[in-house]
């Protein structure tokens, strides 16, 4: 199945800039993945520490597929900012150490 044939709404969205995160890749421990919950739902409802039950409920009642993609995009951007803050802090630490 060609990816280009998948959902048009996903296809016409402008792609985000590429960024990499090293949180889970930084070590050998990866935890587990969902088995029964679509990963998009998990990502949309999780802030990395807890699950937002309100969002979970809304995804089953009033948020459509397009809305889900908006939420995922916002998560992606927010995560990139948090990661950038960590990298910037590491950079400042290195500079201050001389």
């Amino acid at each position: 199945m060609g990816v280009s044939l998948f959902f048009r709404r996903a296809l016409v969205r402008r792609p985000l800039a590429k960024w990499s995160i090293s949180e889970r890749a930084g070590g050998p421990h990866n935890g587990i993945d969902t088995e029964n919950v679509p990963w998009q739902i998990f990502v949309a409802c999780s802030d990395g520490e807890s699950v937002n039950a309100t969002t979970y409920m809304q995804l089953q009642t009033v948020i459509d597929f397009e809305g889900l993609q908006d939420i995922l995009e916002m998560h992606e951007v927010h995560n990139s900012w948090k990661h950038a803050e960590v990298l910037n802090a590491e950079l400042r630490a290195k500079i201050s150490q001389g």
């Binding site: 199945m1 060609g2 044939l5 959902f7 048009r8 709404r9 679509p38 998009q40 739902i41 949309a44 809304q58 995804l59 089953q60 009642t61 009033v62 948020i63 459509d64 597929f65 397009e66 809305g67 889900l68």
Partner: protein
């Protein structure tokens, strides 16, 4: 083909926004459908993709109803599509449960030509699916395509 788009009242009442409702006229019948919720869409998508296959999916996502319907009305295209759908629908145990996804897809859509007794009423297709589309697979395809595009493409 006249298609309109509105925002339905919130289903649960505690959120000020709601799912989009779409309306169209196909073969003189007025249809109204509400965009699937994200969770429902994610559950249905793999089943639909498996049922339609790559070519069928391309057809279902055709840019507009007239294009799609024109293609389906070509005997060769209809035969090829139905053949592929039936092939994909038959499970390992020889049943055709895969076709139930089509019923699930259009079941929540409202039609103004549901026949009850001698009268036509406006109601959801769901419980009337078999009688409603009996002998009119081309119309079923046209309605299915439109409903599919409402949630996954551009209606």
């Amino acid at each position: 083909m006249k298609t309109t788009e509105t925002t339905a009242p919130a289903v649960t009442g505690f959120i000020p926004t709601g799912l989009k409702t779409h309306a169209t006229i196909i073969d003189g019948v007025t249809y109204e459908t509400t965009t699937f919720t994200a969770t429902r869409a994610l559950v249905m998508l793999p089943k639909i993709v498996n049922l339609l296959g790559e070519d069928g999916l391309t057809l279902f996502l055709a840019s507009n109803d007239d294009d799609a319907k024109g293609l389906v009305e070509e005997a060769q295209v209809e035969a090829a599509l139905m053949s592929k759908v039936m092939e994909n629908a038959v499970g390992e145990e020889g049943d055709a449960d895969g076709l139930l996804v089509v019923k699930d897809l259009v079941g929540g859509t409202i039609s103004n030509r549901i026949k009850i007794g001698d009268n036509f009423v406006t109601a959801k297709i769901g419980a009337h699916f078999d009688e409603y589309f009996a002998g009119n697979l081309t119309h079923l395809m046209a309605v299915s395509m439109w409903v599919f595009r409402c949630s996954f493409g551009e209606p």
